[in-house]
């Protein structure tokens, strides 16, 4: 029994990190209808910035959170404004190819500058015990941050003028223009928010996982799975998707061995794709 409470706790904490990793990707995909192949690299970029600040100047990751967020927002905004906006309404294959090409560039730049060495912010905050369950403090903080950030994003999407404009542009670009919405700007803001969330996830990840350019593909794959499981383009979807994936991987790892954990995640995703394409809590309209 003790082991199960531990497995569940592991799953939930991992799941929150997954949610954090995926929410920006989901937003960009849902709103811009662009599969952002750069997302994994954005996360790693955020992680590297955090690591260098910590390693070089001893700046605490918490301080870097807003800094990295702002930098990646700017990067995302600029990329969308100057590059992606030119083909934003083209078919899937075109936008995907474009972001794939951009990712090749960013990836190459990052391996050149940062090398592929795994780096880690050694905060090592220890762990707390709740009865039989051991909870690593950095993951707890990461979980809390992930929740706070996704909720903040949710609030922005639901309650603010910008949030409404983002949905409107997604649903009907030319009608949105008639509302006075500058669609290209909204696209750039959305992409910026996506990059911001990726960067912030990178900050959290840098203190929890070893960061290296090798894992950009893995992160991207996780983001895919989380989005599909939870439901595309919706913030609560990313949260639910992340948690479910974390739990499934954790339980499958325990029952069938770590070799099957990732397979279980993908199988879950395929099952959901086929039975409930809108995801567990997906909003209609993003198909």
């Amino acid at each position: 029994m003790a082991i199960y409470s531990q497995i569940l706790a592991n799953g939930l904490m991992l799941g929150a990190l997954y949610a954090c990793l995926a929410v920006g990707f989901s937003l960009v995909w849902g709103v811009l209808n662009v599969i952002n192949m750069l997302h994994g690299s954005f996360i790693i970029l955020g992680g590297y910035l955090t690591w260098f600040a910590w390693h070089g100047w001893g700046i605490h990751p918490i301080v870097m959170l807003p800094v990295v967020g702002a930098l990646l927002f700017a990067l995302g905004f600029a990329l969308q404004k100057l590059v992606i906006n030119r083909v934003v309404s083209a078919p899937v294959l075109t936008t995907l190819t474009l972001t794939f090409g951009l990712d090749m560039i960013l990836y190459n730049v990052m391996t050149y500058w940062f090398t592929a060495t795994p780096r880690r912010v050694q905060l090592d905050l220890g762990a707390v015990s709740l009865g039989p369950v051991t909870l690593p403090v950095d993951r707890l903080v990461g979980t809390a941050l992930a929740l706070v950030l996704t909720l903040a994003l949710y609030a922005v999407m639901r309650g603010s003028n910008i949030g409404r404009a983002i949905v409107a542009v997604r649903m009907d670009r030319s009608a949105a223009e008639l509302m006075g919405i500058r669609t290209e700007r909204i696209y750039a803001i959305t992409f910026g928010i996506g990059a911001l969330m990726a960067g912030v996830a990178g900050v959290v990840f840098a203190s929890v996982f070893p960061i290296t350019t090798n894992v950009t593909g893995t992160y991207l794959g996780k983001a895919f799975v989380v989005c599909v499981v939870g439901g595309l383009g919706s913030v609560p979807g990313a949260l639910v998707g992340g948690l479910v994936l974390g739990l499934v991987e954790s339980l499958a790892g325990h029952w069938f061995g770590p070799q099957q954990a990732i397979t279980a995640g993908f199988v879950l995703m395929l099952a959901i794709l086929l039975t409930r394409p809108t995801g567990l809590v997906g909003v209609r309209g993003y198909e």
Partner: protein, 311 residues
């Protein structure tokens, strides 16, 4: 979409150039020609589902990888090489038909994701089924004992044969009821069903066609290199690269995917040889520029020239 004499001429020239490389060039050029033919076959296969039908499939690496493994396992069990390739082609084709019946219910981005997931799941399953596949250790195949030139020529002609078969299939489909139906589905699937097209069957047929040539190429490739492992056989990169090649040449056309593959492979050659640290980034830049300035693919250039404007 109709392929004119220009396309056929380009194809004939391209294939002749590839086939004649052993006459005048060294073995590495012959190898590059074989690789061009192989990617040409992969891109031409992809064209059935991605170009004709408009379904952004990223399953290529799954079919290629399964082809590698089925072929390798058969060969290790003592099946003669060419027969092993045939078995691989048929089995993967059957697998694609079954899989297609399931995942072709998805559309757009969802289909894209589902088809990528297929690659990952295949890789994971192959990798954990060690008793059959050797898991992470991979599998060794009997190496051909001929000299390097003979081996290379042999595989050049094998890959060319697969390419030519895929092109013939494309030309036949293009003129048939199937091709017409697939194009209708591409344009408007609801309307296609309403005029009496059995969309599920047609899509499954396209998906299967997109698999068989990949499987054949994979099985032949495995025999060629003599060693396969899960990471090399199921490469996400290949699965993205092949559609990019098709787009580069012109998706949905007869000659486009092959030309795109040739152009892409040659570009890669140039960049590796000359830019050690930046080859990936430079290729990225090229892709970005292509998306911007040549969205219809290389063939659209030729078409503009010859037709003097958009049709």
């Amino acid at each position: 979409m109709r392929s004119g004499p220009l396309a056929y001429a380009l194809l004939a020239v391209g294939i002749l150039v590839l086939a004649s490389t052993p006459l005048y060039a060294d073995n590495y050029v012959v190898r590059t020609a074989a690789i061009v033919a192989m990617y040409g076959a992969l891109a031409t296969s992809w064209n059935f589902i991605g170009g004709f039908t408009g379904y952004p499939s990223f399953s290529t690496a799954a079919f290629f990888g399964l082809g590698c493994y089925v072929g390798a396992i058969c060969q290790r069990a003592g099946v003669p090489m060419v027969l092993a390739w045939l078995i691989a082609t048929l089995m993967v084709g059957a697998f694609a038909a079954l899989l297609g019946a399931i995942i072709l219910r998805l559309k757009g981005h969802y289909f894209a994701i589902g088809s990528i997931a297929v690659v990952e799941v295949c890789r994971l399953i192959v990798s954990s089924w060690s008793s059959l596949t050797g898991g992470g250790d991979g599998l060794n195949l009997p190496l051909l004992t001929w000299g390097p030139e003979q081996v290379m020529r042999f595989f050049l002609f094998v890959m060319l044969a697969i390419l030519i078969l895929s092109l013939i299939a494309t030309a036949l489909v293009d003129r048939s009821r199937l091709g017409f139906g697939l194009r209708c589905i591409h344009q408007n699937e609801d309307a296609a069903a309403m005029v009496g097209i059995d969309t599920t069957r047609y899509k499954v047929a396209a998906y299967t066609l997109s698999a068989v040539f990949c499987a054949a190429a994979g099985a032949a490739y495995a025999s060629w290199t003599g060693y396969i492992d899960p990471t090399e056989s199921f490469q996400i990169l290949m699965t993205v690269k092949v559609p990019v090649m098709a787009m580069l040449g012109g998706a949905g056309t007869l000659a486009g995917p092959f030309l795109g593959a040739a152009a892409f492979v040659l570009l890669e050659e140039v960049f590796w040889a000359n830019f050690l640290d930046w080859n990936r980034a430079i290729l990225g830049v090229v892709i970005v520029l292509l998306v911007f300035f040549l969205p219809g693919g290389l063939l659209s250039l030729a078409r503009k020239r010859s037709a003097g404007g958009p049709a």
